[in-house]
């Protein structure tokens, strides 16, 4: 195959991938888009077979066959709750493969120029730390290792040191012949991945997964430069961009700065303000002020479960806010039952999805789709917040920080400025949470103050929902 033909084919396949992504932007066409991308990838594999004259290389066929078998099992039996782990694992495998290809290029390809050597070394480094970083992320998400941030002694110095060492080794590997520096670089990069992912707490995982998704694409693109493979470069670039964009979206939605997470400032920053705000006077008083206007000085009667049927009788507009607590207790089926029961009474039921509900971008939507909740009932925060005040009844299920009104008032706390779902503005509120402790951010939620309009149900979300369903009958 001549270079010209290869370039033309690469351009066509890249365009097919881009069209596939474009189709991914609407539910109606998304399946087609994904299949188009998959078909483009299959064609790309065929093109590569022919271009490099590899059809007779048995090793490749063996690798492809084993990989496909493993994949089918993985894809078929993974539950939606485990999607973040799966994506993390696949990122890691992609990173490993890029590092492997780069290493082989470096070791065996003839007549490597300076550019090829540099990109091969860089691609290997990025691939290697994507691999170990992803493994740590998977371990944390799958609870194989502690979700808490882990710090080694002098963690940040180690992190900075290994990064400098990687840069130095790339320069050395570039200038001096032999593979010793490349292997050393691989080792240090693997270690860097560990150092990079260990301090990230469980709640920051959506950001880490997005970022590693980006680096796995970048690793492929850079390795593609070393091999002079246009297709690898373009597709890798697209993936890198998408991961980066999702990372930004997540950071904005979580009110975190990427640099703070990467430089392992998370734990230090979060724990510092908590003791100061423990009395939490500003936050608590801010919200109870609203209540105080209505009921001055009288001891407030908190709403009881018996009030619920009465509330329901009057309710026309209902919004359900599911959070990670719902996913943890696997209460999706109960949520679906609640949705059905509410709708049967002729009420309009909608779901409000906070951007960080779940453990990866858009995770909550998938969990709800899995139990057949129509996707046109799922609303993004900005679209549904204006309707909160006119909503009769809001159910909060396993969400805390993302509905905490203190985010607007409690200056100096980690959640100050966090965009939240304004559940507090609804007429009546049912909150099913595990306990009344502050959420991940460590800021008290004023919604837990006793109020005749807020029904609190503590405990496992599944059990609370069963109780509610029994009450509704």
């Amino acid at each position: 195959m001549s270079d010209t033909v290869f370039y033309i084919l690469s351009a066509c396949l890249s365009l097919a991938v881009l069209l596939g992504i474009h189709w991914m932007s609407r539910v109606e066409t998304a399946v087609r888009g994904n299949r188009l991308s998959a078909a483009a990838m299959l064609c790309a594999i065929l093109v590569t077979f022919i271009k490099y004259d590899l059809l007779s290389v048995a090793d490749i066929w063996i690798g492809l066959a084993i990989g496909s078998l493993i994949s089918l099992a993985l894809a078929r039996y993974t539950r939606m709750i485990a999607m973040p782990q799966l994506v993390g694992l696949l990122n890691g495998l992609g990173g490993f493969a890029s590092a492997g290809a780069a290493l082989l290029t470096l070791g065996y390809k003839m007549d490597l120029g300076l550019f090829e050597r540099f990109t091969a070394l860089l691609g290997m480094a990025v691939g290697a730390f994507t691999f170990t970083g992803s493994l740590i992320a998977v371990g944390k998400l799958h609870r194989l290792i502690s979700q808490k941030p882990v710090f080694l002694p002098r963690h940040r110095a180690l992190l900075a040191g290994s990064l400098c060492l990687m840069a130095l080794l790339i320069v050395l590997g570039l200038l001096l012949p032999g593979m010793a520096y490349a292997w050393l670089l691989a080792l240090i990069s693997l270690a860097f991945g560990l150092l990079f992912a260990l301090p990230v707490g469980g709640a920051d995982m959506p950001i880490t997964i997005s970022l590693l998704n980006s680096t796995s694409g970048v690793a492929a693109a850079i390795t593609g430069m070393a091999l002079g493979d246009v297709l690898l470069v373009s597709v890798g670039g697209i993936v890198g961009a998408s991961g980066l964009l999702l990372t930004q979206i997540m950071c904005r939605a979580m009110n975190r700065r990427l640099s703070a997470i990467l430089l392992s400032r998370s734990a230090a920053k979060v724990s510092a303000p908590v003791p100061e705000t423990a009395p939490d006077a500003p936050a608590a008083s801010a919200a109870s002020k609203e209540e105080a206007d209505v009921l001055p000085d009288v001891p407030v009667r908190a709403a009881q479960p018996e009030d619920l049927p009465g509330w329901l009788g009057e309710a026309r507009e209902v919004i359900i806010i599911p959070g990670y607590g719902m996913a943890v207790s696997q209460a999706q089926e109960q949520v679906k039952a609640l949705h059905d029961a509410l709708e049967k009474g002729g009420r309009r039921v909608r779901f409000a999805i906070h951007p960080v509900a779940g453990r990866m971008p858009g995770h909550m939507n998938v969990l709800l789709a899995e139990v057949d909740i129509p996707y046109d009932k799922l609303f993004e925060m900005d679209d549904i917040n204006p309707d909160m005040a006119s909503t009769d009844l809001v159910f909060v299920i396993g969400a805390n920080d993302v509905v905490n009104p203190a985010a607007n008032t409690a200056e100096g706390t980690p959640i100050y400025g966090l965009p939240v779902l304004e559940a507090a503005r609804a007429k009546k509120l049912v909150i099913c949470n595990f306990d009344s402790k502050p959420g991940y951010a460590g800021v008290d939620n004023p919604l837990y103050q006793p109020s005749p309009d807020v029904l609190l149900m503590f405990g496992d979300a599944k059990e609370s929902l069963s109780k509610i369903l029994a009450l509704i009958g």
């Binding site: 890249s14 992504i21 991914m24 932007s25 539910v27 998304a30 399946v31 299949r35 991308s37 998959a38 990838m41 790309a44 594999i45 590899l54 290389v57 090793d59 690798g63 492809l64 990989g67 493993i70 994949s71 993985l74 799966l86 994506v87 696949l90 495998l93 992609g94 493969a97 492997g100 082989l104 290029t105 070791g107 550019f115 691939g127 998704n213 694409g217 492929a220 390795t223 593609g224 493979d229 297709l231 690898l232 470069v233 597709v235 890798g236 670039g237 890198g240 961009a241 998408s242 991961g243 964009l245 999702l246 951007p355 858009g362 998938v366 789709a369 057949d372 909740i373 046109d376 799922l378």
Partner: protein, 99 residues
């Protein structure tokens, strides 16, 4: 134009176009988008295959095969799980329309 320049330009162009396209995907579909993108990052399987063309020593063959297995899992599992997920969205739509 040298090959290096072409490759770098392709990278920049792909990144910009990808960024623009992905910006228009609603958050409803972010998880399938991400797993689809993730599958695409397995494009590195092409690199592994190309490398197998010149990696002939036993050790390098082993590394090559492992890399291909990893990349293939990345691609195939990524695309099929995305397909499964997207069908759930479509399925819920159908049920909504039938009654």
């Amino acid at each position: 134009m040298s090959r290096e320049t072409i490759l770098i330009l392709v990278f920049i162009a792909a990144t910009l176009i990808g960024y623009k396209l992905i910006n228009s995907v609603p958050s409803l579909l972010h998880t399938p988008l991400m797993s689809g993108m993730n599958a695409l990052s397995g494009v590195t399987v092409l690199g592994c295959m190309a490398a197998m063309g010149f990696a002939l020593s036993p050790a390098s063959r082993v590394l090559g095969i492992i890399s291909i297995v990893c990349a293939t899992v990345n691609v195939v599992a990524g695309f099929s799980v995305t397909d499964r997920m997207l069908n759930m969205f479509r399925g819920s739509k159908k049920e909504d329309e039938e009654p």
